[in-house]
């Protein structure tokens, strides 16, 4: 499919994401300006506060965005999942350039001019409004410009906390190895950044001194025309968005008792499993809110914070990453331990296993496997010194990942394994950038990219049975949930799961549609 026909076909969704993105950036920039400029002014009046406040703003800006989102989710008022959390994070990032430039701009006003203002008998507020702010304006607008461009970039990560925006396409595109999706997310974001930069640049030039000449009425008219066009475009955009938002709010309000928030992690399989529950619940007239594609342990934090009711998880992940136990190989023991501890510690129920395991799959290219006649990891170990490996951040860092794995099989590679985004490792392997990766056993692209899974002949990897984690109070509140989970117990085989993943990842089919067909076929 060409990029342009992709755009044409997905225009409604893309325009929604664009609006969400713009909305996030504009609201956060507006809030940051409303906080940042007065703060900057205060700092010019109270010199002793300047160091500490700018220091704090500086530190806030160095927090990695995903970490900041993770930190915000459990917070009572600012946190949660969705636009509000994203806006809070974006405001945090936007504050530093705005505060700093307000201070720099005002402090930079010619002392002769300020002295003249005082000596002419101007009062403090008159000096601020008539002299300092107008003269500092170009510098302040530069700050807003920087903040906005940063915001447009960071807002792509907002997709990780379910706030939508163009990041949804970027994350999805990375996961599905789909350049159209990647471009459809990245290009509009880049264009938006350039437009904001250019527009604010015009405004900045308008306020700078050499332009204030007799002829400037002309350029003033031009700026006014530009602002008018911008306002019209934004109004059209948000008019539709707001009315849609309001009506969806109204529709949701009365159904509160049978309303449920379904979450997923940021990879296809998790989203498919979440969608299965969501659709089955909707068929039983439960109102479902979807918060998919949450990164790292965000779904866990969100569930404990009461902002998520249910999400799919793997027992092994809960056992090692959440409960911090050493990995063991008995699936039943893992399941029982997780179930017991989740009930005690978190008030969270664990469903019956869904019927398939998703464990680390050590993958090489199919061509290579056939040429060297390799079946197991042990057999492959002797070729490893000539190979390069690429692993996801997760696999590199966890105890049951690379450190233990390489020891168990005595593996040594040609160079230190590359640490990269998990989605990207499949692409890296298929395109000969690396020679061995650790993927997911149910990954749809294993077949699509002709990759070969080496057998874990020493049974190193612990079992990762798929289950749903549900808040116990939700289980009590929504009667339909128990029925749905009972139906789903032991109902998805590894092959079936791989097939579902393949449909979405390789055939690039709509996930909701794939799930709908599967539910129909199963007669759920």
């Amino acid at each position: 499919m060409s990029f342009f026909s992709f755009l044409k076909q997905n225009w409604p969704e893309l325009s929604t994401l664009l609006r969400q993105h713009l909305w996030l950036v504009l609201v956060s920039t507006f809030v940051a300006v409303a906080i940042g400029i007065p703060t900057g002014i205060l700092l010019t009046r109270r010199k002793s506060l300047r160091g500490p406040v700018l220091g704090i703003a500086n530190i806030m800006q160095t927090i990695p965005s995903l970490a900041l989102f993770g930190f915000l989710i459990p917070l009572p008022f600012f946190g949660g999942i969705g636009a509000r959390t994203a806006i809070v994070a974006l405001v945090v990032y936007a504050l530093l350039p705005i505060i700093r430039n307000t201070v720099t701009g005002i402090v930079g006003v010619d002392p002769n001019v300020r002295e003249a203002a005082v000596a002419m008998g101007m009062t403090g507020p008159q000096i601020l409004w008539q002299v300092e702010l107008p003269l500092a304006m170009p510098v302040i607008i530069t700050g807003v410009r920087v903040a906005m461009v940063i915001g447009i970039g960071v807002a792509t990560i907002a997709a990780a906390v379910g706030a939508g925006g163009l990041g949804v396409y970027i994350f999805r595109g990375l996961r599905q190895y789909d350049n159209n999706l990647l471009l459809a997310g990245a290009v509009p974001a880049a264009l938006m950044a350039l437009t904001a930069d250019f527009g604010l640049g015009l405004l900045e030039r308008h306020f700078s001194l050499p332009n204030r000449r007799k002829g400037s009425t002309k350029s003033r008219l031009k700026v006014i025309a530009l602002v008018a066009v911008a306002v019209i475009v934004l109004t059209l955009f948000f008019g539709g968005y707001l009315s849609a938002w309001r009506s969806s709010r109204l529709a949701n309000a009365p159904a509160n008792s049978a309303r449920i928030v379904v979450g997923s992690k940021d990879f296809t399989e998790s989203a498919i499993l979440a969608e299965i529950v969501a659709q089955m619940l909707e068929a039983r007239s439960v109102t479902v809110e979807r918060d998919y594609e949450l990164g790292g342990n965000l779904p866990h934090d969100a569930m404990l914070g009461g902002r998520l009711d249910i999400y799919p998880e793997y027992t092994g992940t809960s056992y090692t990453a959440i409960l911090h136990h050493q990995p063991i190989t008995d699936p039943r023991a893992v399941y029982e331990q997780v179930k017991k501890e989740y009930a005690e510690k978190f008030g969270v129920a664990v469903s019956e296993p869904l019927g398939f395991e998703n464990t680390f799959a050590i993958l090489i290219r199919g061509v290579e496997a056939r040429r060297l006649k390799l079946k197991t990891i042990s057999e492959a170990a002797r070729y490893a010194p000539n190979w390069r490996a690429g692993f996801g951040q997760d696999f590199m860092s966890r105890a049951d990942g690379y450190p233990g794995f390489s020891k168990a099989y005595g593996l040594k590679f040609a160079e230190q394994p590359r640490e990269m985004d998990l989605s990207l490792t499949y692409i890296a392997l298929a395109s000969n950038k690396v020679d061995l990766i650790a993927g997911n056993s149910t990954e749809g692209r294993i077949a699509a990219l002709d990759l070969f899974q080496l057998e874990d002949d020493r049974h190193y990897f612990p079992p990762y049975e798929a289950v749903y984690l549900v808040r116990q109070d939700t289980l009590a509140r929504v009667a339909q949930l128990r029925e749905v989970l009972t139906k789903l117990a032991h109902s998805i085989s590894t092959d079936e799961m791989r097939q579902l993943n393949y449909e979405v990842d390789a055939n690039k089919r709509n996930q909701a549609e794939v799930v709908r067909e599967w539910i129909k076929r199963k007669g759920f």
């Binding site: 010619d110 003249a116 000596a119 002419m120 008998g121 101007m122 009062t123 002299v131 001194l209």
Partner: protein, 260 residues
Amino acid sequence: MSETLKKPLVEFKDVSFAHPSAAAPIISHLNFSVAPGETLVLLGESGCGKTTTLKLINCLLMPAAGEVVVEGKATTAWDPIRLRRRTGYVIQEGGLFPHFTVAQNVGLVPALEGWQQARIKSRVAELLSLVGLEPGEFADRYPAELSGGQRQRIGVARALAADPPLLLLDEPFGALDPLTRASLQREFSDLSKRLNKTAVFVTHDVREALLLGSRIGLMHAGKLLLLETPKNFLNSNNEQAIAYLETLRVSAGSVQEDAP
């Protein structure tokens, strides 16, 4: 001159001033008065305290000891804003607002005082003509579009805008080229006589002091050494005064700077 018999407009009574951080006082035990209509020139090298003295008059600084009396009232008793609006202030390069037009700069104090637009406009035109600039040509320009001499004229016009009884000038012509400076000095001399303004004028240029002052106050290290009319200053046997006059004689022979 009958004005010298009137009550002084500005009076320094044993005034001292020191920066909180500095050990030595910037000025100490200053006593003098400025009579209505006269131009008192404070002459001295950089750091002698002459600018500090000027700033004590319009409440930009407050005395550490003694009191500065303006129009019969100590500066500590004045509302600083009121006093400053009754006092014209001219600094080097004019200190014009770069984002204001010439008309806005000149009309600043009248606008602050809430005058009607029409009155401000006619006053601005009147003042621009007074300082030798064609109102139609200059009113809508910005300071960056003017020459140094023109900016200085605007600075003087702005100080005169609300017709204040007192003018304070801090080396207003210091940054100008010699020819422009000489012509502005002449014009200022005429203007202050014609308008009968009282002025305190700070400079380090002895020629300027002799040309403009009705009296010259010679300052050194925060003290007033001498307070004389130009005629008496020329004949003074004070060492500092002689040193200043000496530079005048030498430079007249060899340096082009002060050649008329």
